[in-house]
């Protein structure tokens, strides 16, 4: 594996019958990421259940309950590596009651794989998955038209699905959509090019994942450095050292840059950017570093160091696309803790503007109750300003979670409009 190989995180959403588990099993199996003892265990289970051959789908079932019920109820993470890239799969269940799991898996993904059964074409679930990919701003969407073996590998069937998909996807905000005809069961166009579909000129799925251009997906313009903690060694060698530890959220910070500390507004210059290995002249997302400034100013966790000529907006009234994650519905005008990067404040949901009907994707302005899996547009008021960017411009400084102080549970995830 070469040193400059990148990491690609992708999500797969799908339900019991559309072949998602088989597809993942196929990717892992054909890329030789399944070990013999794992394969042996799957073979044993397949035999016990009376399945013909090896049921690759069994490989992705993790917990006891899931193995018993044959469903995926949580996000499971899978790993495989090829000579070109390391991959992390966030494998999420596709059924409507698991919308929150899909949102969770999508939040860190560079790419989404959406599976469509070639026999059934675009169905409500396809639209829902695509909507979530668009809402969470996953930069790349790959629509895999699966079970091509069951439609005689027909080009017409493939084109029909593309046509259906493009009809509704024009309304979504996805920059890059690709279509690949596959059979996960037989391996057509998954790792190896299909011999049954000469009419398809594009690359198989794995090659697409390996070569997709992802370095430009990171925001390199807006320098944002949320401070996690302050490092004060007070040792012989570093007596007066005061470093601000954090991970660059976006943009590039350089030694000598004029910076402003939000929300205080104090200004200074970057004196050094340090790591254990060496001091750097610049740092970019998503590097973890320690930054020192020329001036001694009061900075603590929750503050954000930004370039003085490009600052986020400090606001207390924010509009958010909110996904409700918890069993307990939102209480009207109840207060929650809101977390935004390393900052935490109190917040109140002041107004539900509309709720999205996740089946039809229509807006509902009548129903204002937020229950688990609901996605809605809301107005939130915070006790102190948050330094925000819009989610579309910045996935790190544009996202928040809500925590219920009574239970300490994470109850909602929000994307700032």
């Amino acid at each position: 594996m070469l040193d400059n190989n990148q990491l690609l995180r992708f999500t797969t959403a799908g339900s019991v019958d559309d072949g998602k588990s088989t597809l993942i099993g196929r990717l892992l199996y054909d890329s030789k990421s399944i070990f013999e003892d794992q394969l042996q265990a799957i073979e044993n289970t397949s035999k016990k259940k009376g399945h013909e051959g090896v049921d690759l789908a069994l490989f992705t079932d993790g917990l006891k309950d899931e193995r018993e019920q044959g469903i995926t109820i949580d996000v499971a993470y899978r790993y495989f590596t090829t000579p070109k890239r390391k991959f992390i799969i966030a494998d999420t269940p596709g059924h409507i009651q698991y919308t929150r799991n899909m949102v969770t898996g999508a939040s860190t993904a560079n790419a989404a794989i959406i599976l469509v059964d070639a026999r059934h074409g675009v169905i409500e679930q396809t639209k829902r998955h695509s909507f979530i990919a668009s809402l969470l701003q996953i930069p790349h969407v790959i629509v895999c038209i699966n079970k091509m073996d069951l439609v005689d590998y027909s080009e017409d069937a493939y084109n029909k699905v593309i046509h259906q998909f493009e009809e509704f996807s024009s309304k979504l905000l996805v920059q890059d959509i690709r279509f690949i005809p596959i059979s996960a069961l037989n391996g057509d166009n998954v790792v190896n090019r299909s011999k049954n579909m000469d009419w398809y000129q594009g690359a198989p799925l794995l090659h697409t994942l390996e070569t997709m251009h992802i370095s430009s997906d990171i925001n390199k313009v807006d320098a944002r450095f949320p401070v996690q903690t302050v490092l004060r060694p007070q040792s012989e060698s570093h007596r007066d050292y005061r470093g601000y530890a954090g991970r660059v959220a976006s943009g590039i910070l350089r030694v000598g840059d004029d910076v402003t500390v939000m929300p205080s507004g104090f200004t200074s210059k970057i004196k050094s950017i340090d790591t254990l290995d060496k001091s750097l002249s610049e740092a970019h997302a998503p590097m973890s570093v320690s930054i020192t400034l020329e001036d001694d100013i009061d900075i603590s966790r929750g503050d954000m160091i930004v370039r003085s000529n490009n600052k986020p907006e400090p606001i207390q009234d924010i509009e958010v696309m909110l996904c409700w994650l918890h069993n307990n519905p939102a209480k009207p005008r109840a207060k929650y803790s809101i977390r935004h990067t390393s900052n935490e404040q109190k917040a109140m949901i002041k107004e539900v503007i509309y709720k999205i009907n996740i089946e039809s994707l229509d807006r509902n302005t009548e129903d204002k109750e937020l229950t688990m899996n609901d996605i809605s547009k809301v107005k939130i008021r915070t006790t102190k300003p948050l330094m925000v960017d819009s989610y579309r411009e910045n996935r790190t400084t544009g996202s928040v979670i809500l925590i219920d102080d009574a239970t300490n549970e994470t109850v909602a995830a929000g994307m700032i409009v």
């Binding site: 190989n5 917990l63 499971a76 993470y77 490092l231 973890s288 300490n408 549970e409 994470t410």
Partner: protein, 301 residues
């Protein structure tokens, strides 16, 4: 501007450092669970990076079963001296002596499950609110569902069906008195990533990971090392083999593999060609299909 991206090891490193700093910022009294195995050594190395130029600001904690490889204990003490951090030891022998747990009986008896009680006792008596572990999601199917910040109730138990969702890089470590968290900074690393990184950073690891001559016995499809705790069956025979260990647990349950890999390069090459998972040589995982999940629910690492 195309050079502004990280390679996969740098991205994993940066993610782990971020998690370690979040733990420090969100908890009052965290510790690193240190077993002397490569994963906890890696976590400790990453913690050194996360807080440089300050020292690691929290202790290391070792749950000592008493069934150790002597090499592991020496390695542990050296690293503690080098880092200048505090070591907390939870002793399984003490738990047995105090009657908190009873020794397993029979041929495959181990102290593996007994560690749970000792670990939870040590967490409680030291008022630890977050125990940082080297668990990885690729190790085992129950671990594939583990969060970076994983909640434990006041009995130390994990409820896999009721976990807090983790979105983006926002972690919620809020907890009530008596509850604690487990944090897993290297969740997204695979065994291969760990070896490639150890090689790249030239991190010191116990000699047990390198091929060496050792007295062993063939049991449950792997080479179990001879030790004072080993009880031989009639048909079993002690032989000397050139072996190395892929994981390190108790000396009673950790099986070695025959190998000539005596450098980090050779180990990385060997691992990349492996066709068995690393825990395939751990008899504690072989007891049933959900052996790991069942132990994790109770509070295991």
């Amino acid at each position: 501007m195309s050079k502004y991206y990280l390679n996969y090891l740098d991205e994993l490193e940066s993610e782990a450092i971020f998690i370690l700093r979040e733990v420090w910022a969100q908890f009052d009294n965290p510790v690193i669970l240190f077993s002397g195995g490569k994963d906890s050594i890696l976590v400790t190395h990453l913690a050194k990076k996360a807080f440089y130029p300050a020292k690691i600001p929290f202790p290391l904690m070792h749950v000592d079963t008493g069934h150790n490889f002597p090499e592991t204990i020496k390695f542990r003490d050296d690293i503690i001296a080098d880092l200048g951090v505090q070591l907390i030891v939870g002793s399984v022998q003490e738990s047995i002596d105090e009657g908190r747990v009873a020794e397993e009986k029979g041929k495959n008896a181990t102290r593996n499950a007994l560690q749970i009680t000792t670990l939870l006792d040590a967490i409680e008596s030291n008022k630890i609110d977050c125990a940082i572990g080297g668990g990885r999601r690729d190790e085992e199917k129950a671990r594939a569902k583990e969060r970076f910040f994983s909640h434990r109730d006041d009995f130390g138990q994990w409820d896999p069906k009721n976990q807090r969702p983790e979105l983006w890089n926002i972690f919620n470590g809020r907890h009530f008195e008596g509850e604690h968290f487990r944090a897993f900074p290297i969740s997204n690393w695979t065994e291969m990533d760990v070896w490639n990184y150890i090689k790249r950073e030239n991190i010191a690891i116990p000699s047990l990971y390198f091929a060496h001559e050792r007295e062993v016995v063939w049991r449950q499809d792997s080479w179990i090392p001879n030790s004072e705790f080993l009880v031989l069956e009639d048909h079993e025979e002690i032989v000397t083999k050139k072996i190395r260990f892929r994981t390190l647990g108790d000396i009673t349950i950790t099986g070695g593999i025959e190998s000539d890999a005596d450098t980090l390069e050779k180990i990385a090459d060997e691992v990349s060609g492996m066709r068995q998972t690393e825990r395939g040589n751990r008899s504690d995982d072989k007891r049933s299909e959900s052996a790991m999940e069942d132990r994790k629910r109770q509070g295991y690492f």
